[in-house]
Amino acid sequence: MDELEEIKITFFQECDELLGDLESGLLSIDAGDTEPELVNAVFRAVHSVKGGAGAFGLEALVRFAHVFETLLDNIRGGKTALRPDLVKLLLRAADVLADHVAAAKLGGEGDAASTTAMVEELETWISGGPAPSPPALPADLQPNEDGIVFKPVTLTLPEVDEGPREEVWTITFQPMDELYAKANEAGLLIREIERLGKIDVELLDDALPIFDNLDPETAHFAWKVRLRTDVPEEKIREVFEFVEGHCSTTIVREASPPVLVEADAGPDIAAIIAAAQAANMEAEPAFTPLKVDVAAVESQPPVALAPAAPVAQVAQPTSPRSPQPPQGEKVNQATIRVDPERIDKLIDLVGELVINQAMLAQRVAGHGFAASSDVGRGLDELEQLTRDIQDSVMAIRAQPVKSVFQRMPRLVREIAGQTGKQVRLVTDGENTEVDKTVIERISEPITHMLRNAIDHGLETPEERVAAGKPTEGTVRLAALHRGGRIVIEVGDDGKGINRPRVRQIAIDRGLIAADAQLTDEEVDNLIFLPGFSTASTVSDISGRGVGMDVVRKSVQGLGGRISISSRPGFGSTFTLSLPLTLAVLDGMVIDVAGQTLVVPLTAIVESLRPAAAEVKKLGAQGGVLAVRDAYVPLVDIGRVLGFQTTEIDPAEGVVLLVDSEVGGRAALVADSIHGQRQVVIKSLESNYQQVPGIAAATILGDGRVALILDVDALVAMRKREPLRMPEPSIQAAE
């Protein structure tokens, strides 16, 4: 790969981190954190993105970042006060910046329309400037010994101090060897200075030795740059920020700027003096002491100040608590960057090791070594070690869910904007770790649940006020470990599920019988049924009736479960529980028609050996099993998968009771059970394609491939068989 491209990839990786810092910093500020370092951190993030983008010539990104950075710099310098509405604007600007970065990553440029609009908004704030601070009041107006009243006057003329005023700076810049060694270039830095104003460069080559003594790796040149610009000194210093310590730089303001006061500032001073004189017409003419009436000055505000955007006093944070102050997090962890592919490779290899160790153990046992023999004990130790290595390697790949959570505030803002609702997102447990394979897959269900919570859960501000709640709704996103799984909760403080309505819709759509007796919990969970959508208008936010059933399906595809609990008037909470990894799976190893198959344990409710009397024929080929007080349809795995044409007599074999999405509870019939085992999941799709009824494959101790059943698909396939028995439309007892 092109070296520059590699650096560019690193740049974009860093951009993602910087954008994350930017957003979390802004969110902390939004939540009421007044720590000044936060503003600095936010500024630095934007500045670094701009710096890197400049190096790669990403002009559009640089232009936008520059405007953004200017406003942040004003805030940092206290020129612009941070108000809640400004913070909201900054958050949206951060979104636009993220769009630019994302576009640049693909080699394009950000959306011009939204950028222009955002730049305009930002510039309004930049040019807004501070409100004029009132001139200091003369404290002591005692006449002096001559009887003349001197009124000490402090004239504050902010437009002269801080407005554009050209000055001339002399910058001497002498790079050291390290500057070049770090792949910086003097020419680029000088060009960077040129962007600030008009420059006049002089090369200082006094240190250049005679040719014989010339060391090509030593820096011999220095430059003297005269810069005429209106930017403050810090801006000039920023140019050298990245080469600090690798050059000696002096920046000196020339004593008498050639243009002291710009034309537009001139009349202001004249006006103030005139006003002062006018106010003192009656004073002693001999001395004409400058006796300025404060009121007169105040009544004539300097005209140069743009009155457009009145700037309020320092904003008081409105949110009562900050969910996760960044101080609580460890910042300076020593980390290394590793290509994820290398870790994946390592995990694959450890998976091989586990399989190999199991094969070895099986062969050793086959040769009649006792478990207590030296060989047997050695194998036990090997097994222990292998498991430890596997756990450690999996831990390397574990990632905090933060990377997913970080994307959510933006989503919430967008949905809030679309729905006209006021939403505050509170996140918790961002540092909960889970395997990369899971991280990649949880973003979508979380997105869906959040959309649902805001769109359907939260009320409009008016409704909330009517219900006696604060206008701003709260959505809580939390992650935690529980029982070897990761649990993700999405809760809202909205109106909760309207159970009579849900029930009515389910009846109308024929999903449940009109007289079905359902508990509250069962009613709540009706929303997961395919084709169920409670939104009376189909919105583009929560989809077109493919809402929660799709979420549930994708979650179950990951070996997870999703449920909802709701309190009318107080809100609802979705709870999502997922395995910590998709690389291994706890499964039940079974035999069907001479084939070894693995059934995911999460799907299995119980396994049993039915008595002949419990198996009932139903129709020509169908059958049901009486389990306690319910009849459960029998599913012959071998026949559904096409391994055999005749069915196993369930009374001869073993039955696994499973919960499936489509058909409710079902009884899978197998020949025998080998027991539970943790298996390494291998994709069938990487070399072949998806196979109906099969979720994935694994490799067993004997080195052979075993297929992992997709229980839902299997039950669904059975339903598609021509000779099926009529299925109850829903197993409400699920």
């Binding site: 091989e352 998968l641 391994f643 070399n687 196979v691 009824g693 491939v705």
Partner: protein, 155 residues
């Protein structure tokens, strides 16, 4: 690597030839990853007959295709002498079950003739061209057309 056979270049190509269904075929040697002995495959449900199932190839799940059956020839009866040729097709690996590997051929493009119309679409679809070596006729398999989903023939 799978250039059309009638490309005008004079580059020599090497091909691995093998026997299946009493006919000699070959594939571009560049697409061959390895050649291994037959081991029993785990059958895949709901898949075409020519898919013999999957085996463990050092931790990866490798689908095995009976080439003879794919070419509408009588199915191969795997024996100890049967061979699996692991070929790469795009990003994927697939194992071709054949009777025996016979030769490595080094040919120039002009040695390849287009496949004449013999009224057997299945064979013609998978054969890139015919190569004559002495009095042998070897048909070059277009491996990229073998996989069912790439061909639009999903199970």
């Amino acid at each position: 690597m799978n250039q059309p056979a009638n490309i005008g270049a004079s580059e020599r190509r090497e091909l691995t030839s093998f026997w299946t269904g009493e006919q000699e075929y070959c594939v571009d040697i560049m697409s061959v990853r390895e050649i291994r002995g037959w081991s029993a495959a785990t059958p895949l449900p709901q898949s075409p007959n020519y898919m013999r199932g999957v085996i463990n190839l050092r931790g990866a799940v490798l689908p095995i295709m009976d080439l003879a059956e794919r070419l509408d020839l009588p199915p191969t009866q795997p024996s100890e002498r049967s061979v699996i040729i692991v070929v790469q097709v795009g990003e994927r690996l697939v194992g071709l079950l054949v009777d025996a590997v016979s030769d490595i051929l080094s040919i120039t493009p002009d040695q390849i003739q287009p496949t004449p119309d013999v009224g057997c679409d299945q064979s013609k679809a998978f054969i890139r061209g015919l190569i004559t070596i002495d009095d042998r006729m070897v048909s070059e398999i277009a491996v990229e057309r073998l996989l069912p989903d790439l061909e639009g023939l999903a199970a």
